[in-house]
Amino acid sequence: MQQEFDNVTFLVGSKDILMQMEHIPVLPIFSDKVREFLAILSDELLHDKQAKQFGDIMAYAFWIRGAAIEKVYTKYVSETHRIGRGIAFQIAPSNIPVQFAISMTYAIISGNISVVRVSRKNFRQVDIICEVIKRVLTEKCTQLKPYICVLRYDHDESVTKWLSSICDIRMIWGGDNTISMIRQISIQPRCIELGFADRYSLAVINADDYLKSDFKVVAKDFYNDTYYTDQNACSSTRLIIWIGNQIEKAQKIFWDNLACEVNIKYKLSEICGSEKLLKTAICAAKHPEIREIRQNNAIVRIELPQLYDDTMDFKGNCGYFFEYATSNLESIVSLLKKDCQTVTFLGETLEDDIHKLVDLYGVRGVDRIVPLGHSIDLSFVWDGYDLPITLSRVVGNA
């Protein structure tokens, strides 16, 4: 195996640590060691001058802060005799810099040994977080040193093959192509594999409830759900379903307020205008009844007279929204397919209503139902997996 590592850069850990991983004992879920490590890592990151320049690092650090992890822990405290599965080999996505750390957190909190392969793109965030992890492992949490490796390597299938051959969990964050390419590489019979693929998300807004809300706050929330990640994350809202009586009035206020927010905060890439115009042309060729509303190139809306089965084939980003008004919430069922990840809602009864739809129709999609503004909140439940449970095993006694 020696020569295979010539082209591997270890951002955290080393070749020796990697080679030893098969022989390292797994830990219980939410072990003291790991909780302590995360709390210290959080603290260090929150006070790191460089890290402070990146909102996404701060959000990650905030998520793993001591008090927050303790609170999550209380939910799992009754899960006795749960331990890690072994080595968790994770392939991080290339467009979300901090995802590798989130993935690592899932792996180690569940008691596993974590190996993450990060993208070849050089993100400052990755370097900063790795530096801090290294420091914490060297200075304060030496016992966890054998449990964490972060690597980067170029076009080198042999490393992926070897890691796949020894791992007990393989987690792939990325597009459908990435996942199917990696699936070609075999894993051990008892290894479990999780693919976090491309998904889409939508919002349901009750116009009458919206009109009673604080418009500025909603605009901020919606901005965070969408523009904050260039409307290109799996959790980004692509389609807005309006229900209620005063839809037209609500739409006007909603978009006007969002425009204020976007004008202040969003840096629109130059290419977006023509990109969105192209989307409209392609969509219109298939569905001639659609109508484009272009306030400016930062906010482009497509009014749908009906929900097409293939609506999401035409989804755009950086502020390209489908809109559909209906009096009957049940009409959205056709969109709650496998690829549908998050449904955000604004409206008093909507959370229940949407849950009921999911149950009643037994739809294949919808992994999260969260209030508007919370689509990118980090959570230990993701894409329908309760990760501390999924990534660990229970030693039964019956």
């Binding site: 959080s42 603290d43 929150l46 006070h47 402070k52 909102g55 701060m58 959000a59 650090a61 905030f62 802060r65 001591g66 008090a67 927050a68 303790e70 609170k71």
Partner: protein, 80 residues
């Protein structure tokens, strides 16, 4: 150390600012250090200081030095 002293310290630590400016009247977004990013450091620091876990709504509501005291006093039984 009194709870007030601890509270002031949490601001100093969490935001990385001088003690002199941590006083009544200090508000979210009023100084460069207390922006949305600094806010996360502050909350973490307060939680650690008083060994509590704050609710999301309280995290958002904590928009000034005074307001923070009020939240801690009414919801988390910390007497000032």
């Amino acid at each position: 150390m009194s709870n007030l002293e601890k509270y002031v310290n949490a601001f100093v630590e969490g935001l990385g600012v001088d003690k002199d400016i941590v006083k009544p009247g200090l508000e979210y977004q009023a100084i460069a250090e207390w922006d949305s990013v600094g806010h996360m450091g502050l909350i973490s620091s307060i939680e650690e200081t008083f060994d509590i876990m704050m609710e999301t709504d309280d995290i958002i509501d904590l928009s000034s030095f005074e307001k923070g005291k009020e939240i801690l006093a009414t919801k988390y039984d910390i007497a000032f």
